[in-house]
Amino acid sequence: MTGKEFCHFYSRGRFFTIETGGEYVLGRQESARGGCMVVKVSNLVKRYGDLIALDHFQLDVEQGEIFGLLGPNGSGKTTAINCILSLLSFDKGEIEVFGKNMTPSSYDIKRDIGIVMQNVAVIDELTVYENIDYFCGLYVPEKKLRKDLVEEAIDFVGLGDFRKFYPKKLSGGLLRRLNIACGIAHKPKLIILDEPTVAVDPQSRNNILEGIVRLNQQGATVIYTSHYMEEVEQICTRIGIMDKGRIIALGTKEDLKGMIRVGEKITIEFLTGDPQDHVEWVQELPFIASVTTQNHNLLITTERGHNGLGSILSAVHDRGIQVGRVFCELPTLNDVFLEITGKELRDQ
């Protein structure tokens, strides 16, 4: 039996295979890591006339991951997702989900996929309970089983008090929660969320993020697209940064941040004098990547892997310079993106 076939064996994500020296061993799930490929996209190309929306897009998502697809608006995240789901036609490429070729009529695959889309997709004339029941019913025909699943879903998203409400009466955050419930009620093995936290209040947002982590712990593989790097950093185990239709950087948080030159970013506020006077001597300090001024502040970046804050502060103290506030930031994914593309992740 090959590893691939073992992947098909798992129920509710309890089993996975670990590749150990060429042999495959069944093991209980301890951490959400495995060697089975849930989604495999190769060479995906999608054109809209002259515009290339997806440019040889590649994606490998392993079972048990929370994979984050990060990119600015217009980078092709939603297009990629729609192609993977066989909702959108594409010009070139192969898409495999759960090891099988994905087509619009692959109902067995679709049964195990849950989607939470950017646009809230609920029916206005049905209550919260009815909405979840309706959509779950398309996946789970058995009534008794479905009833339990729907109740679980309502609890999971915390809409217990709102089950008889109509969508029009729900706030943005609650509506998003409903959107999620409709997408995951049938306990899918692969959950794809496309920008689920747009226009959502912070409380609901946290709720949603925690929920995703819980789903993952219960055994679901998650693909999460967003242009909010904080969220992606917070929950994703592996991240792909996307721009202009292709993945430009791939890896864990640390991997990605390790790709760039910048180590730390330190901002020192000078209370007296012109910060420009200090640029020269600071630059002489070891492991300094760049020094610039901005108003009363000196912006210093250190080289990757080196902490410059301690040495800079002691140097400043030695010279008896009066400083105000000091900020130290670790590089963010935005910095990664900036360095690779020269643009910001978020629109200016």
Binding site: L87, Y107, D108, I115, A121, E125, P141
Partner: protein, 379 residues
């Protein structure tokens, strides 16, 4: 799965209160307006007394025959004319200007009728005078030949002879007013197109977010579509039956007695309307406006040609383009009901009902072909 989808589409459609209310209420309100407009047609024979003037010319004073004719129709209860005699033409003309009279008669060498405007009153006056002149002419011809015959004349003229008898033996007499009512039923059926169109939007992923979600479920979207069609057809069918019940029991419009056939025809009409809407929904891009525009324009046009506004349009349309009788769904529906009412046999009826079902089938086929692809170029 079918019942699951059917139940929820039914709930969802019924709870759209605005749409449901208007679907049920508007045909009933409209047909009530029709009934009001036609309410007086049965009473055509009743007329109001017409105020007419007469100039007291010399010739008139001498013309006893004419005098007796005028007197005959201006006496008793509810006479045809209410005659005012004027001494001069100018006085009569002034009265006419003042609208005290609808017209006046002046007799010199011949009879003149002076009027200001045309209308039923004036038509009646003219007819009366024409008839008088014609009879007078005959009388003169007879008397000039043999004066003795003159004695018999009044006797003959007052004979009451029925020359014409109604021989219509059909189940029911032809009835122009029914054309309007049946055309109204047709229009209501066609308005089911809005529901059909809405259902298409609900499954075409490039037209709504809910549809996209549906497309990702492990159910073929056409299956979802068919189930929801059943729900929608049911609602539309009920609304048409409600309309017919109202027309039959409250407005007392005649449909004949064949309930089963009426139910079948209603169902055929309902299918045709909903399927037509589905085609429009599937063939046009996203956007309510265009779809509504096409549906309204098309259904009003079809109803117009089936005689909804002016019954004779139906006749003229089918005379100019005979094929219209067979390809205009509104016409087919209206005629199916009319054939049921008017004929003893059912050939015409079944032909129409059959064509309606055929249309529905063709429409749904087109929809199927248009919606077959499950992937989209762009969403």
């Amino acid at each position: 799965m079918f019942w699951h989808i059917f139940k929820y589409r039914l709930k969802s459609t019924v709870r759209d209160v605005q749409t449901i209310f208007w679907t049920l209420a508007f045909p009933i309100i409209l047909v009530s307006f029709f009934a009001m407009a036609f309410s007086n047609l049965e009473n055509i024979s009743e007329y109001k007394t017409i105020k007419i003037g007469l100039v007291n010319t010399q010739q008139y004073q001498k013309d006893t025959m004419f005098q007796s004719h005028i007197t005959a129709v201006s006496k008793d209860e509810n006479p045809l004319f209410d005659v005012t005699i004027y001494d001069t033409q100018e006085a009569a003309a002034a009265a006419l200007s003042d609208k005290q009279i609808s017209g006046f008669i002046l007799e010199d060498a011949t009879l003149h009728l002076t009027i200001r405007s045309t209308g039923i009153d004036q038509t009646i006056m003219k007819e009366f005078l024409d008839w008088y002149l014609q009879t007078a002419s005959s009388v003169n011809n007879i008397i000039s030949g043999n004066p003795a015959a003159g004695i018999k004349l009044s006797g003959i003229l007052s004979e009451n002879v029925t020359y014409i008898k109604d021989t219509n033996t059909g189940t029911n007499k032809p009835n122009n007013v029914l054309t309007y009512y049946y055309a109204l039923i047709a229009m209501t059926c066609l308005y089911g197109a809005f529901m059909g169109s809405k259902e298409v939007t609900a499954v075409q992923a490039n037209q709504s977010a809910q549809a996209a979600r549906l497309n990702l479920a492990p159910v073929h979207k056409l299956k979802v579509f068919l189930s929801s069609l059943c729900a929608v057809n049911l609602i539309q069918y009920l609304s048409i039956l409600l309309l017919i019940a109202y027309m039959a029991f409250v407005l007392k419009i005649d449909f004949g007695n064949q309930i089963g056939y009426i139910l079948l025809a209603s169902f055929a009409g309902c299918c045709a309307g909903v399927s037509f809407g589905a085609v429009v929904g599937a063939a046009t891009k996203k956007g309510e406006g265009i779809k509504t525009g096409i549906i309204i324009s098309a259904s009003m046009a079809m109803s117009f040609l089936a005689g909804l506004m002016v019954a004779q349009m139906k006749y003229m349309a089918t005379k100019s383009f005979p094929i219209l009788a067979y390809i205009n769904p509104a016409n087919l529906i209206a005629d199916a009901f009319y054939a049921l009412y008017y004929y003893n046999t059912y050939d015409r009826y079944f032909l129409n009902v059959g064509l309606l079902f055929a249309f529905s089938f063709v429409f749904y086929l087109i929809v199927f072909l248009l919606m077959r692809g499950q992937q989209y170029e762009s969403i």
